[in-house]
């Protein structure tokens, strides 16, 4: 078996992961936190993306909207990462071979790469275009990609449960 599978099995066998898996309450409660954090993180990301596309707050600088919402996005990220890691640990051995989970991880990496690429290219010149109603094409492409990728992350995340029976 692969190194990654061994790692998943070790996490699965830790007392914390076993405790969450065997508790009747822990898993649904953490799952609920994961869904509430979704609104905080991806909801605020979506609003910034919509501003980059010029669909909301067209009269306010895009960098202002990003600065106002970024703390909420990071708070949401903290909730998502913490709850997501706990949920993963509790089912790590089964998730390793779950196609929806694998797709979700790929989409997460692509969403992060898109964010980094945008931040270190187009966004560095935000002082020049930030006040304009119409943002540069690079910003609009990054925003559309971000909306599509995060929607994919949510969709594949929801699909994990539908593929659970088939885990090898």
């Amino acid at each position: 078996m692969s190194l990654l599978f061994d790692l998943c099995r070790s996490i699965y066998d830790t007392p914390l992961a076993t405790g969450i898996r065997e508790s009747e309450v822990a898993f649904p409660v953490i799952e609920t936190l994961h869904v509430l954090g979704l609104a905080l993180m991806t909801g605020t990301i979506a609003i910034v993306d919509l501003r980059l596309l010029g669909w909301v707050f067209p009269d306010e600088p895009a960098s202002d909207i990003a600065d106002q919402l970024l703390p909420a996005t990071w708070a949401g990220f903290a909730v998502m990462a913490a709850s997501g890691l706990l949920l993963f640990g509790a089912e790590a051995e089964k998730l390793y071979s779950n196609p929806a989970f694998r797709l979700k991880l790929v989409l997460l990496i692509l969403a992060a790469a898109n964010m980094l690429a945008f931040h270190f290219t187009v966004y560095r010149r935000v002082a020049i275009w930030g006040r304009a109603r119409k943002t540069p094409r690079g910003a609009r492409i990054a925003a559309a990609l971000s909306l599509a990728l995060w929607a994919g992350v949510i969709a594949s995340g929801r699909m994990i449960a539908y593929f659970h029976g088939r885990a090898a």
């Binding site: 609920t32 979704l38 707050f57």
Partner: protein, 157 residues
């Protein structure tokens, strides 16, 4: 009761029968429901935060409410339509589910509180004290979280 008759009619309708038979409809509609939840939740959180003086503190609250109104309405309509389709897969199960009943009641209250919040945001431009605005914001947030929790509980009951 009128609601029971409505749910029964929905179950026997062509749409209800089609929804019940389809295997993947529930999964797809559920994903749409979840995507709209993320958007509507984000809008509510940003609006409530602005009304409480957080995040967009230097902008009038009315600018936040007006700016996000199309996104709020888009998210709400998507949630209502997808939600109605999810109910269609088994209307009577939902009708007798206590979490679903609580969720619908909380939804009506949350919509009323959000309407009140938007009204107070409009007034905030002219008047100084923001007590009513902040209460409306806090009540809206609590009720919307209640709607989400009610929805989560439907599947667990």
């Amino acid at each position: 009761m009128i609601f029971e008759a409505l749910f029964r009619a929905y179950a026997h309708s062509t749409l209800g029968q089609a929804l019940r038979r389809s295997t993947w409809t529930f999964a797809i509609v559920e994903v749409v429901h979840l995507l709209a939840l993320a958007v509507l939740g984000g809008v509510v959180l940003v609006t409530v935060a602005a009304a409480l003086g957080l995040g967009r503190a230097r902008r009038p609250v009315a600018a936040t409410v007006l700016g996000l109104r199309p996104v709020f309405l888009g998210g709400l309509v998507t949630l209502l339509v997808s939600g109605a389709l999810l109910v269609g897969t088994n209307p009577m199960k939902y009708y007798f589910n206590d979490a679903f009943r609580a969720k619908m009641l909380l939804l009506v209250l949350a919509l009323a509180a959000t309407f009140w919040l938007a009204q107070q945001a409009g007034h905030a431009r002219e008047r100084g004290p923001l007590v009513a605005l902040r209460i409306a914001a806090a009540v809206s947030l609590i009720l919307w979280v209640g709607v989400a929790l009610g929805g989560r509980l439907i599947g667990l009951l």
